[in-house]
């Protein structure tokens, strides 16, 4: 795998002047070993979760009480749970949900965080109010807030979008609007630093409109910190969803997610350890690989690192 990528990108190594920006980033990224390992594992998990069910064709919700509590076998590589459901199929199905929640919630948090961060960093008059709102959100105790939101809006959303989509929207929304604050603070700091540089002054004096300055000059320069908080955001969203499932407040109990599988398996730790091992491992690996990728992306996007 590593050999293949090296040969594929060999021409880049010849330092032709036509090297693309993406090539540069990729080159830098590859230099970060943890990042590459993280990428490989993350891609593997993605492939397994989305293509896996076409290979391992067992329905995750098929109950077969005669085959309950089985240890791993050829028919059930991850064993079965106490109702005889195949664990591999459940871990794969659960992964799709957990990853979807993680990525969507991250995107929402990222959008909100960047918006607030850029606005408060760039426009002095908005800085105070927006940062106080950020402080307010940071001060809110998260879990009780989640519980109240879930209780208040669950039935309305369920009626409009159906049980599963409704809960999905709710959970993504709830995680998204409660985890944008760190992104906002980081982005604001970066924007403040970038704003005072000469090229922004140059852009302003050339009559460029504020909106275009933000899009063309500010955003590309704060992209690295945005990307890092994005990767961290996926991890924390997956963990928050697990916590909600753990409390019995997330998705319905027959709807596997990694957190839910872990929760259900905990009682059976001594009897069939694989019920806890695999979902736990999946959560840990995803979070770890995403964190390493974030680390590598930050290195790759750092303009100082690009110079040499």
């Amino acid at each position: 795998m590593t050999d293949a990528t090296i040969t594929a990108t060999q021409p880049v190594e010849t330092k032709t002047p036509a090297r693309s920006a993406f090539g540069d980033i990729w080159h830098q990224f590859r230099a970060h070993r943890g990042g590459v390992a993280g990428l490989v594992i993350f891609v593997f998990i993605l492939l397994a979760v989305f293509i896996g069910p076409y290979i391992h064709r067992v329905a995750p919700n098929a109950i077969n009480i005669r085959d309950k509590n089985q240890w791993p076998s050829l028919a059930h590589p991850f064993g079965t749970d106490n109702l005889g459901k195949d664990m591999l199929a459940q871990v794969l199905a659960g992964g799709r949900i957990s990853l979807a929640v993680g990525v969507t919630a991250m995107l929402l948090a990222l959008f909100l965080g960047t918006l607030v961060g850029v606005l408060s960093g760039y426009f002095r008059r908005l800085d105070g109010p927006l940062m106080r709102i950020t402080d307010l959100f940071l001060a809110l105790p998260l879990l009780p807030l989640l519980l109240v939101i879930l209780m208040l809006f669950r039935d309305t959303l369920r009626a409009t979008f159906g049980p599963e989509t409704g809960i999905f929207i709710l959970i993504v929304f709830v995680i998204g609007i409660t985890s944008w604050m760190h992104t906002a603070r980081i982005v604001r700091g970066d924007v403040l630093a970038v704003k005072s540089q000469e090229f922004i002054l140059a852009a302003k004096s050339s009559g460029m409109r504020e909106f275009r300055i933000i899009i063309k000059h500010i955003l590309p320069n704060v992209l690295s910190s945005i990307m890092v908080s994005a990767t961290l955001g996926i991890a924390s969203a997956i963990i928050t969803e697990s916590a909600l499932s753990f409390l019995g407040l997330g998705f319905p109990s027959d709807f596997p997610t990694w957190g839910r599988l872990l929760f259900d398996g905990a009682n059976f730790l001594q009897l069939t350890p694989s019920r806890v091992l695999w979902p736990g491992l999946a959560i840990s690996l995803t979070v770890l690989s995403v964190n390493y990728m974030g680390d590598a992306i930050r290195d790759a996007l750092d303009p100082r690192a690009l110079k040499h």
């Binding site: 919700n61 109950i63 009480i65 309950k68 509590n69 106490n82 109702l83 209780m151 039935d155 309305t156 369920r158 009626a159 049980p163 409390l247 019995g248 319905p252 109990s253 027959d254 709807f255 259900d264 905990a266 009682n267 059976f268 001594q270 009897l271």
Partner: protein, 568 residues
């Protein structure tokens, strides 16, 4: 009369003396650690129908008579059980007289008198009180103090099974002095009284943290000077059944764990540690699925699941209710979740044995074909998604229960079985402390029943099902007007049924009573007020070092905590 009293007082004193001689002294065995995985939210059982509240308060406040482990009545704060033979119950069954033990004291040192008993009745039947145990006082027109140690209860009509008021853990006597200003609408506001009732029981409340932990100390004024053996009790609440079982059976951190609703294979692994043992008693617990007879559509807002919401669009059809029951294979549910601690049942009154009906045994065998046929004939056609529908109503139900791995497994099994007859279920689970918490502000309590079907266990105290069967009367439907109290959770209402229960309450002959109880039980199952699933044994666990536990399925499990001691 006076002589008799003297004699009795003498006997009690002698017994007490004998007890102290045989037993260790009061408070010599240290701390008794009890674990309830559903945390206790109040110590006043009149304000919460939850088993955990009833049990935890039974260490402090006591009824006049209790049921022992065999289901027989035992005098507790009285000298004897009144019967027609001993003149305690009048010949026309219109009144009964309890003779209180003369030397009983409240834990604050004041004497326990007939006034307190009278007050307890007034407290529960006070208008706007939202008393959760009103069914216990059904048909009582007056409770009077004849003298300080004699209480006379008069009934509105002949009461052929009179042992209901002040009998069993659900209707204990509370102190008049303490609760005097807490009657009616003021009841829930009296926090200090509700959280620390003064009682006659072996322990007094030292500290109560709602939904967390209760500490009790031995009652210095307990009537038996040698008891209780334990100086303090720590009753910790919260967690889940499996961790509670582990804490007692495997790690030995707790002495007693209540309600081990854990998969049988998991319990078997824990028992290997040898730190504790399981105690089971089959009483009257039935795990059932309640069907909501009113419409719980969230669009109806606060009206949902009340009479104003109108009948349930799908569950109003008897064919649907019956098909839902026919599709369930109770044996599989029993095997997966209960093992030795449960048996499949079709009855809501599963015991005592004489009362268990066999008329509904059709439901013991799963009949998918029959259920499908029934639904076809009733006009429920399968849509493109495989779910049956008729006149815009889909057979898709929100199925709620408390968070517990056995219940979630049961939910999944039932959903799977229902899917075979074209019925869809959306599963929801609510934390047990919320679900059974009885908080009128929460939308997730079992009383509010904002779901189509919900599953939990209930049971009745004692051996006579009359007052239990009275829970399905039309006027017991929970609603905002009665503060969502009232035990008719399925919102079942049938004048025929009301008549049957009224007849039962007028019948003295035991054979006839059994026959009528069975008939009422059959009517509930046949009409589909609920779907009985499993006749559950009450399973609790205690450490091997705890002596004196007599598992009681008919009253509070902690009924004889005064006799518990540490094995030397």
């Amino acid at each position: 009369m006076k002589n008799l009293k003297l004699l009795l007082a003498g006997t009690v004193a002698a017994l007490a003396f004998a007890g102290s001689a045989a037993h260790a002294e009061r408070g010599t065995d240290g701390d008794l650690k009890i674990l309830f995985w559903q945390a206790v939210s109040t110590l006043n059982p009149y304000l919460s129908g939850g088993t955990k509240e009833v049990y935890s308060s039974s260490l402090v406040i006591e009824p006049l008579a209790r049921y022992d482990e065999k289901g027989e009545l035992a005098p507790w704060l009285v000298t004897e059980i009144p019967t027609v033979e001993n003149g305690g119950v009048s010949k026309d069954m219109m009144s009964m007289t309890w003779k209180l033990k003369p030397d009983v004291k409240w834990s604050d040192g004041t004497p326990f008198t007939a006034d307190d008993v009278v007050f307890t009745w007034k407290y529960c039947v006070a208008p706007d009180g939202g008393c959760a145990q009103k069914a216990q006082y059904e048909g009582v027109t007056s409770v009077e103090a004849v003298d300080p140690h004699t209480v006379k209860i008069t009934f509105s009509e002949p009461k052929y099974y009179p042992y209901s008021a002040f009998v069993g853990a659900q209707s204990p006597v509370i102190q008049k002095k303490q609760f005097e200003n807490c009657v009616g609408a003021k009841a829930p506001g009296c926090t200090s009284a509700n959280f620390g009732p003064i009682g006659t029981g072996p322990f007094v409340v030292k500290d109560f943290k709602p939904n967390d932990v209760i500490t009790y100390a031995a009652n210095p004024n307990y009537r038996d000077p040698a008891k209780p053996a334990f100086a303090t009790v720590t009753l910790k609440g919260g967690g889940d059944a499996a961790s509670a079982a582990r804490a007692v059976l495997e790690t030995g951190e707790f002495d007693y764990g209540w309600n081990m609703q854990v998969e049988p294979e998991v319990l078997a692994t824990m028992l290997k540690a040898g730190k504790g043992e399981l105690v089971t008693a089959f009483g009257t617990q039935v795990e059932r699925i309640n069907l909501n007879w009113y419409n719980p559509d969230p669009k109806l807002g606060d009206k949902r699941s009340t009479k104003e919401a109108g009948p349930h669009p799908a569950l109003k059809d008897p064919a649907v209710r019956r098909a839902l029951s026919m599709a369930i294979d109770r044996n599989i549910i029993d095997e997966a979740g209960y093992g030795e601690a449960g048996r499949p049942t079709c009855n809501i009154v599963p015991g005592p044995e004489a009362y268990a009906s066999t008329a509904n045994d059709w439901c013991l065998t799963q009949d998918i074909e029959g259920a499908n046929k029934l639904l076809d004939e009733a006009g429920w056609k399968k849509g493109p998604d495989g779910i049956r529908a008729k006149d815009g109503a889909r057979l898709s139900f929100l199925y709620s229960t408390s968070t517990n791995s056995v219940r979630q497994a049961t939910q999944e099994l039932v959903k799977d079985m229902w899917s075979q007859i074209g019925v869809d279920a959306e599963l929801r689970n609510v934390s047990a402390s919320v679900f059974f918490g009885g908080d009128p502000a929460s939308p997730d309590t079992f009383q509010k029943f904002y779901a189509d079907v919900e599953m939990y266990t209930n049971n009745f105290d004692g051996t006579d099902p009359e007052k239990y069967l009275a829970e399905w009367l039309c006027d017991k439907v929970p609603s905002p007007e009665n503060g969502w109290q009232g035990q008719n959770i399925p919102r079942y209402c049938n004048p025929e049924y009301d008549k049957l229960v009224a007849e039962l309450s007028k019948t003295a002959d035991i054979e006839k009573r059994i026959e009528l109880s069975k008939k009422a039980n059959d009517m509930l199952t046949e009409e589909g007020a609920h779907i009985p699933l499993i006749y559950r044994g009450q399973v609790s666990s205690h450490s091997v070092s705890l002596d004196g536990v007599k598992m009681n399925a008919w009253d509070s499990e902690l009924w004889n905590a005064a006799d518990w001691s540490r094995k030397k």
